[in-house]
């Protein structure tokens, strides 16, 4: 009959309350944010791993998976800000390199310069710039994530952008 079809339907939302689904939905963006904050792809992968492990016990079964992204972002910023290095990450570094490694080279023209310029910023300036211009967060949410006043965010952004412009001139 004409009204009956066998066309496929989307099921993405069905997975969103499980860890696998949450990972598929959020890991790529989380890893890229962590990369911008650390300048190191491997460190970014470790931070994302640790963030998912931390949040897994509390949030895998949460009824509103849309809030997970915000929690994940806060955890990543917090882990990077406190210089977190998990035992796993330390061990893997030592196994692979015997000593702290050079960052993975960025394979895009100009990418190295941008990354190096970002690394010239203080951690708080870098977090403010990345959350504002990569995550597109409003200043109030950045202040919340960095646990500072909105005025401080303005100042961090202003000084951070000055440094970036100077480095990339």
């Amino acid at each position: 009959m004409e009204g009956v079809t066998d066309q496929p339907v989307t099921h993405e939302v069905l997975d969103s309350t499980r860890l696998d689904g949450l990972y598929r939905m959020h890991a790529t963006r989380a890893k890229r944010t962590a990369f911008l904050l650390t300048g190191d792809a491997e460190a970014a992968a470790d931070v994302v791993h640790d963030a998912f492990v931390r949040l897994a016990g509390r949030f895998v079964d949460v009824r509103h998976p849309e809030v997970f992204a915000a929690y994940l972002r806060r955890t990543i910023v917090s882990l990077v800000r406190t210089g977190h290095r998990s035992a796993t990450r330390e061990r893997r570094h030592l196994e692979r390199h015997g000593a702290p490694s050079e960052a993975i080279e960025v394979d895009v023209a100009g990418g190295l310069a941008v990354r190096d310029a970002l690394m010239k910023l203080t951690m708080r300036q870098r977090a403010a710039v990345v959350l504002r211009y990569y995550e597109d967060l409003p200043e109030a949410e950045i202040a919340d994530a960095l646990r500072c006043r909105p005025g401080t965010v303005k100042s961090l952004l202003s000084r951070g952008l000055d440094v970036l412009r100077e480095e990339l001139r």
């Binding site: 009959m1 004409e2 009204g3 009956v4 079809t5 066998d6 066309q7 339907v9 989307t10 099921h11 069905l14 860890l19 696998d20 990972y23 598929r24 890991a27 790529t28 890893k31 890229r32 944010t33 990369f35 911008l36 792809a41 970014a44 994302v48 791993h49 640790d50 998912f52 492990v53 931390r54 897994a56 016990g57 509390r58 079964d61 949460v62 009824r63 929690y71 806060r74 955890t75 917090s78 800000r81 406190t82 977190h84 796993t88 960025v106 394979d107 895009v108 100009g110 990418g111 941008v114 970002l118 990345v130 211009y133 990569y134 919340d144 994530a145 646990r147 970036l164 412009r165 990339l168």
Partner: protein, 503 residues
Amino acid sequence: MDVRDALNTLAETVPPESELPERTRKGARRRRALNASVTLLMIIAMGAGGWVGVRALRPEQTRIPPAERTPEGVTKLEWFGHTAPFAQTDDSLWLAISPRLYRLADDGTVKGEWRFGNDPLSPNPPPYATIAGTAASSDRFVFVAYRTNSLPDGRDPCVAQPFVAGSAKGCGRVAVIRNGTAEERTVLDEPPTGIVMGDEWAWVSGVSTLYRVTDGDDILHAPVPLPPGLRAVKLLRDATHLWVLTEGPESANVLLKLDARTGAEVARTEVPGSVVGVGAGAVWGAGLEREGARTISTVFRIDTETLRITGPTRVITTFLAGDEPAFTQLGPILADGSDVWVGSHDGIVYRIDADSGRTLGSIRTKFAPATMIRRGGFLWSAHLDGHIVRTPLDPPVTTFAPPEDAPDYVEPSPGPGPSRPAGFTRVDLLGDDRTIVVHFFHGLCDHLDHVAISYEATRVVVRPMIADDPRPPGTACPGAGVVQRSVVRLREPLGDRTIVNAD
């Protein structure tokens, strides 16, 4: 230099992630085990003496008894969404979740699945379909009434109107399922709002007309126009009559009682809410009342003979901490024999007395029930997340049970350390006037220690008390929070008092 472009370009050098790495999966598992171990150690360390001491310092609080029975998960369908009421035949349950229809065996096995178009919310192309209902005439015939739109090239003879999700526009179809095959029988001029089985044909309500549809041909037998000015929104039936809920001018709801054979109007009455079920000698509805800072979710009963309205009686009263309105939506209602079951959108099904409307007990289900039916000594419920569960009904349910497996329901875990009041965001008082569900907000690194309750002459003060989780010094804690709920039984009925946060 555009900073946004530069950051995006740099970020995209990191390849996309698709699958959860095994080490993260294992890490998450270990983390959960660690959390459980820490909790266990805390409980042991607290010791019996400490426990008694702590309890003695706190206001008396009667905990509710554990759930007296556990609903049995039957199946989890891969699809969920707009769900039509259950229908049943001797060997099967029929459940329509638009645009699909499932045939289920008593063990939950899916014995058949049909699709009547694409989901209106999907990005897939037309035709879209919303199923209004199903009616089983026998084990050989099942009718399905659904709304659909025209195809883009206009070939569809159904209607020329554009499809608008949620509007009354569109056209209707009735299909019959015979020997496992769906055949379209009838095209209606308006979208169907309900379907029930009559003695010799299925009655289908449109917006302004009742249609008779047989399984033998596609002829519409003498459509019955509904009274002008009223728009039908729901069709129910009992042994002798059809019941059509309509919306009249100025949104007043009018219930029409019609002869089940001819469709002729027998009587009508205005109703104070939405009608959601018929049975136990009454038509049942759910409504809302507002009294200052509280919202009361009610049920009312309309006697099928006299049309006299009894009630509304209170099922849930919501007390709010702020001005933002909130309430608990009730429905569906299943009235079968002497039992009346009222579903609520917070995942609890209440058993109420058919005569007085008083709440007798409750069972937890999974998520919000969308439709319920009684079959084989069980209450079956289909839920908005695709779960289907069944709960044994013998012996009768007489206690109030929280939904234990709902992740946002928590038990207090009193400890010896300091705790601080968090304030509630809302409190739901159940129909027994003593069981309360406290909604509160807390951080990611703390938990509910206990709920402190003070009884005063005109009010009862409810304070969720929060304590820090044990964690190593220097551990980072995200500055976010979650809303959770806890169920507590008051020492005495609330009566005329109000429930408030601490000053």
